[in-house]
Amino acid sequence: MEFNEGKPIFLQLAQQLEEGILSGAYPEEGQVPSITEYSVTYKINPATALKGISLLVDAGLLYKKRGVGMFVASGAREKLRGQRRERFFEDFVQSMVHEARQLGLTETELVRMVERGFDGDVD
């Protein structure tokens, strides 16, 4: 995993974990890697890994089994999808419209492009 600057590493790790849950790489009720595994694999400080994982625990997406490790909560995937849907407008639509305005694209042209996207021109 490549980290980029400008965003704290623990947030990037948390996001990567979320992607893993969304994609099914970390299935519900399945165990996720330990703090040490994240630390060693990504060459990050364990305290950073702990901070990232704690975000998901606090959000109810992961839970701890004492002496065993961290597991994905059931319903975590649907919960994440719901959160992402809510944030879709500000995460994607607003910046898209902003960019379209800078390039002088009209609303009609933008809508046509979105339709083209749904028609399968994009993956």
Binding site: F3, N4, T41, K43, N45, T48
Partner: protein, 284 residues
């Protein structure tokens, strides 16, 4: 449990390598000790481990003076440029010797690590290449299992694959022993995320001593058309700036605040921050 440095100065003839340094390395953390050549990093590590004596001040390891104190010294391993073994000693023999000095030294672990790095244990120490000379010392450091691990330029001469192996082994060791690690490196970029706290030395003084996240979050870069960048920079603490044609980029400390739309703000990594900070200090 900590390494305390109290008002320590170290003078070599006319040169003052450390000037009244006071700071603490708390136990159980990974520290990055950063600084340009001659900043005092090696001197500080040599003083902590009792290989040198301070001109003034004192250094305590878990409350005990490290100098001339075997108990304190056995709890601490310093990997540095210096080779402490007879030059014509063979690698394997050195492993056997190390067990006498360090109570936690694990000979079997040393052999296993040597094999993973393809280090020839029959070779004489002085016949090892620069890279394998470093690896030999790294193996000793990792197998010593001391609560304090001081590493002075541990990856010097190591190829990319061996550096990667070392970083991972160090983090495994840290997880297993919860030891305190202090390491200096010029390859800041590679080690930045492993480090919890950075100590930046500059001309024998501590310039910064803070969590890495705090240092990098406290600065940013701004780029865009030169005149707009200049207007934005007015009154802000600028670390460094570069211009290529009409495009200007500057590293700035503090919060970005209100940014004109034509300017782009990006974060700084530890290495960029370090370089920018040194450039600012050079101008002072």
């Amino acid at each position: 449990m900590s390494i305390e440095i109290k008002n320590v100065s170290k003078r070599f003839g006319e040169t003052e390598a450390l000037k009244d340094v006071s700071m603490t390395f708390e136990s159980g953390k990974i520290y990055g000790l950063l600084g340009n050549n001659g900043a005092g990093k090696s001197t500080l590590m040599n003083l902590i481990s009792g290989r040198m004596f301070p001109t003034a001040g004192e250094l305590l390891v878990d409350g005990e003076r490290a100098t001339e104190n075997d108990r304190a010294l056995g709890r601490l391993f310093l990997m540095s440029e210096a080779n402490l073994f007879p030059e014509d000693m063979r690698v394997k023999t050195a492993f056997d010797w190390a067990a006498r000095f360090y109570p936690g030294f694990d000979g079997a672990e040393a052999v296993e690590l040597a094999e993973r790095f393809d280090l020839n244990q029959k070779s004489k120490i002085n016949k090892l290449s620069t890279g394998y000379g470093s690896i030999f010392k790294l193996v000793l450091a990792l197998a010593a299992n001391t609560p304090y691990l001081l590493l002075d330029e541990p990856v010097l001469g190591l190829d990319a694959q061996h550096r990667e192996m070392f970083y991972k082994l160090l983090l495994e060791k840290y997880a297993a022993n919860n030891c305190t690690v202090v390491f200096s490196t010029h390859l800041i970029y590679e080690a930045a995320y492993m480090v919890e706290r950075a100590v930046i030395l500059r001309k024998g003084r501590v310039l910064k001593d803070a969590p890495v996240e705090e240092l990098t979050a406290g600065a940013f870069t701004v780029s865009g058309p030169a005149e707009i960048v200049d207007a934005y920079l007015a009154g802000r603490p600028v670390l460094n700036e570069t211009a290529i044609g009409g495009l200007k980029t500057a590293a700035v400390e503090g919060e970005a605040g209100n940014v004109p739309e034509s300017l782009e703000i990006t974060g700084l990594n530890l290495q960029d921050y370090f370089i920018a900070l040194m450039e600012k200090e050079d101008r002072v």
